[in-house]
Symmetry: C2
Subunit: 233 residues, 2 copies
Amino acid sequence: MDVRTILVEPKSEENIGAVARVLKNFGFSELYLFPSQTIGKKARSVASHAEDVLSACTIVNSIEEAIANSALVVGTTSKPGISIRKHLRMPFFTPRELKEKVQGKQGILSLLFGREDTGLLNEELRLCDIIVHIPTSPDYPVMNLSHAVAVVLYELSDVQVAYGGQPLACVEDKERLFAHVRTFLDEIGYREHKKEKTMLMLRRILGRAELTARELQTLRGILRKAEWKIGKV
Amino acid sequence: MDVRTILVEPKSEENIGAVARVLKNFGFSELYLFPSQTIGKKARSVASHAEDVLSACTIVNSIEEAIANSALVVGTTSKPGISIRKHLRMPFFTPRELKEKVQGKQGILSLLFGREDTGLLNEELRLCDIIVHIPTSPDYPVMNLSHAVAVVLYELSDVQVAYGGQPLACVEDKERLFAHVRTFLDEIGYREHKKEKTMLMLRRILGRAELTARELQTLRGILRKAEWKIGKV
């Protein structure tokens, strides 16, 4: 979905700048502000390299104008409902549940974030289709505005990590490595009665490490080098 | 695991305060600072109700001291590796993958966050067992320090949402509701040839909404009230 971040009467200019930066960090750009805010030097300084997002933000004069054309209006709150008899803040979703709910859907997803001190008013929450609450400690549930935006946009972001998924070593290569290790244990005169237990331990350690194909080849290189040194190759 | 958040040479006092707040928001308290920092009014003001976390923070004189007794040392970076031939920043994990990796484990998990401008130095990353990178846009991958902490601690937090899990309506109650709706359609003289299609539509709509038991009873109350009004009960 196309995510529109709407700040309702933010009091701190720094927060507006910080939110612009968060949007750009997670690949979003649509920022709405209600009501008219003076965006000054402070906001631009905190926005840093996201000044373009800040400059392009839309100033609206009402919540209705902010959520126009939305397919889904999401209200955020640090005070979720506690009674199932009241519907205003209940049932609520965590940011992750929201992500799962909207995955694969199309249209504008409007995210409403309220004032730093009082959040969204009840009449504003009434306009929302869904309520989202970030799971926070009861000792201090109120997050800084821009941090709350960061957590929700982190969940909704579709940014793909370019090089994160390393090709893991395949089972055949791993078996070749273990066979190599077993030979090596023999070559260094490792005690026979300890061998199976040690092999299993190595299998568990390397299993947990989720070896990449490349790392596996490097390990085999070490073994070959060691074998060469002890005159076995 | 017990999470220790370590800030390495943070330049901005506001960031230190903001990080203290984030820790308390997500139910953490162990904050380490390296090297000695003056924590002044600005930091305390931004920490807000997390001044206790700030006051209790540990000042260390070296990274080694900061990570002492850790079971797992995690280095964060906005510049993940791009070559599988280099091991310093590769392979790396997303915060979610880190969460999955450490779930159910015990010991101290040390999270290292670097300087606002240059991050962690290569020699600091060398001390880390695991590298974590928050998936961000290539247009602007560098997050504000406290926002990066917020995202990682959001993932690692074990805070349970107290009232999030509403008991959903059971299948039997749902079937009773649909039977009730079907009767109601008959009672209001709904066109016979449209009935099945409409029933299916309602089933789909209410299915997607994941009705709670209470909401279902309220819907049946509405139907009963309407039936009473049209003289059918």
